[in-house]
Structures are given as structure tokens and as C-alpha cells.
Symmetry: C2
Subunit: 198 residues, 2 copies
DNA sequence: CCTACCGATCGGTAGG
DNA sequence: CCTACCGATCGGTAGG
């Protein structure tokens, strides 16, 4: 029994989740009503429940599926022996930049609204995030040890990397006259040059 | 008629506002109920209204009073002829770091919850923020022109500066074994070295 | 996918 | 600062 798909080949549930991400971003999870969401999708509120289990489930989907896009990139990267630690760091940074450029709704909801997750999802999410940070730290530590990264407190550097890219939200709003590619190159240069051992 | 103050010399309204900032940070503005706030302060919900006008007013206070701490620092800095543009940038960065270290609740609520402001406050806030960004851009542009800042797209650099420091939220949670001073020096070095003309 | 509706909770007020 | 309470709105369900 094939699911009904729209022109963009999305199932009804995917349409609802994308609309939810947009609204959760704009108004916040808690301030977004199921009636707002229904209006956005073009049905009555009660009809949403034929496709989703609850409002909470929408947030879980958004947070965990987005987080997985980062974990899986890191999985591939860690096993790549052709890159040194600074190159790996740059690759992670570029992945973050591209995600912020491509799907700011998902990134903002994951970053700002995950606190609305219910247990046990909240704890799982926080643990996954902590682990991700530690893995990045390990890469940078290796870079310092091998002399490609300036001797710096790598914990601070990881926190900085994860957050510099949040400026892209602002860039999205104003668009400016600068392309996504230029933005990426500028951010990479700024950050990686701050990191590179002279 | 002197207002009643507690041991920390805070008026009742100040106590309520500080508690509100903590809750708005933890749960978000919309998910925080006046009954939650009342519980935190130790009174009944109805009693809060002897000190504040509305829930919305609490958010306005937090957002605008915090924003003003940045505008006034910038006002002083701009008229200081003894500093070059890179030194001014460093001074702004240090101010941001110290604010995130000192009052993370205010910083997080201002940054994540200002979207819940009602008009005309929302527009006023967004305009003030846009202006602040432009003033920082002007400082960095001057730095590029005078050859103290690496020739980079300064808009990107400003967005980066405003956001690198958000990592401090994470630092607060874990504490690690690194002091606020070390954190500040690390962040400043990382960012300013990325900016400085070689 | 809709109409009709539920119990719970929301921000806030009246009156003392 | 409290008790008592209001209308509105919330997420979600029943039944078709």
C-alpha cells in the first residue's frame, strides 16, 4: 500500500514534520499550537493525528534525525586515514556550515527546542550530544599532539566551532549580497586560521 | 516610601525578574507558567501582579535591559581614540564573554526568547540589534582599511564574534576544570588570531 | 479527513 | 499577599 506523495515526493507525515519545524523555529515548540500546524498544512487539527502520534513525537523526529546527520558524518570521517586532524576539523566545520545553510529550521529547532523533549528522550539526546563533543575534542587533541593545531584548550575550540556557525541564521534573514559559498569560505578561513599552528 | 529589599539588596520586582529569567531559560518563555514563577518566588500566582504588570513585561525587561548593557559598552568604546580597530574588537569580544560567564540566564533569554516579544517591542528589539551589528561591522571595516585586520568579509566576522561565545553556555553546564579567566583568554586568542593580519 | 467535544491549564482579575 | 474564579485556549479523543 504505497503512501500518498506530493510533487516533491514527500509523504504526508514528512510534510507535517517540515511544517512543524518551520513553526517550532518561528514561534518555539511550546507556543506552537496543533491548530497553527493544521492551518499550515491545510487540514483540521484533529486530522493531523491520522499521521502523527503526538506533538512530542514531531519534536523527537526533528531532533534525533538531525543529530544523526552529524553523527554519521563523524563516523565516516574518523575512519578516513588520508586526512590529518586539522583537515578533519575543517571537514566537520564545513558540514556544520552546510547544514545551517541548507536546513536552518532543523538546526534551530534541534539547538533551541530540544529542552522541550520529554524523558527519556531528553537524557538520550543530551548524552548523544556530550559524546559528539568528546569525539571532536579527541580529534583536536590529536591535532595538537601532532603539531598541526596550535596548542590551545581544545574543549574551548570545540565549543567555539559548534557555535560560530550559528551566525548563519542571521545571514539567512538578511541575505546580504554574499553567496553561500563565499560565506562558507570566509567562516572556514577565519576559524581554521585561528586554529592552525603558525 | 522605601521599597522592601532582601539581603542582596534586591527589590521584590528584581527577585521576580531574576527568577523569571532562570525559568524562561530552562523551560522557555511560553512553557513557563505564572504558577511556576510564583512557586519559585514563594507566593501565590495572583500575588505576582502586585509587582509586575504582566508576563510579557518580564520578557521586555530582560531583553531590553540586557541589550542596553551592550549598547552602552559600545558607546564608550567608539569614542576611545586610544584603541585601534582590532583592540576595539577584542574589547567587544571580552565584554560578550564576560556577560555570558556572569549572567547566562539573561543572555540566553535575550538570544532565544526575544521572538516572544509582542509588537511594537519585537520590532524595536530587532532594529536595535541590526544597528548594533552594523556598528561592529563599521569597526571591523576600519580595521581592514587600516591594515590591522586580515582582509575578510567583516559581516561574516561580526556574526562569528556574536556567536562563538555561545559555547560558554555549554561550559557553564559542565564546568570542566578550566577557569573563567582561562576560558576568556582561550576564546580571545582563537578568535583574534583568526582576525589579525599576518 | 471532518464535526463535536473533553478535561486541564493558561494569564489575569475581583475583592478583600 | 490570599482565596476564588473567569474566559480562552491547549493537546488530544470519539465516532463517523
Amino acid at each position: 500500500m504505497a503512501r500518498i506523495r506530493n510533487r516533491k515526493n514527500e509523504t504526508r507525515k514528512e510534510v507535517i514534520t517540515a511544517a512543524a519545524a518551520r513553526l517550532f523555529r518561528e514561534k518555539g515548540f511550546s507556543a506552537t499550537g496543533m491548530r497553527d500546524l493544521a492551518l499550515e498544512v491545510g487540514v483540521e487539527a484533529a486530522s493531523l493525528y491520522n499521521h502523527i502520534r503526538s506533538k512530542a513525537e514531531l519534536l523527537q523526529d526533528i531532533c534525533f534525525r538531525t543529530a544523526n546527520l552529524f553523527t554519521s558524518q563523524l563516523n565516516e570521517l574518523e575512519t578516513d586515514a588520508s586526512l590529518d586532524a586539522l583537515q578533519k576539523t575543517e571537514s566537520v566545520l564545513r558540514h556544520h556550515i552546510r547544514m545551517w545553510v541548507k536546513c536552518p529550521d532543523l538546526m534551530l529547532v534541534m539547538n533551541n527546542e530540544h529542552k522541550n523533549l520529554e524523558e527519556p528522550y531528553l537524557s538520550t539526546f543530551m548524552n548523544e550530544r556530550r559524546l559528539y563533543v568528546r569525539r571532536l575534542e579527541a580529534i583536536m587533541d590529536e591535532g595538537v599532539k601532532h603539531g598541526v593545531v596550535r596548542p590551545i584548550e581544545t574543549y574551548t575550540a570545540v565549543l567555539s566551532l559548534l557555535n560560530v556557525v550559528r551566525g548563519i541564521e542571521f545571514w539567512h534573514r538578511t541575505k546580504k549580497n554574499i553567496s553561500a559559498e563565499t560565506l562558507e569560505e570566509n567562516m572556514v578561513k577565519l576559524f581554521i586560521e585561528g586554529l592552525r599552528k603558525a
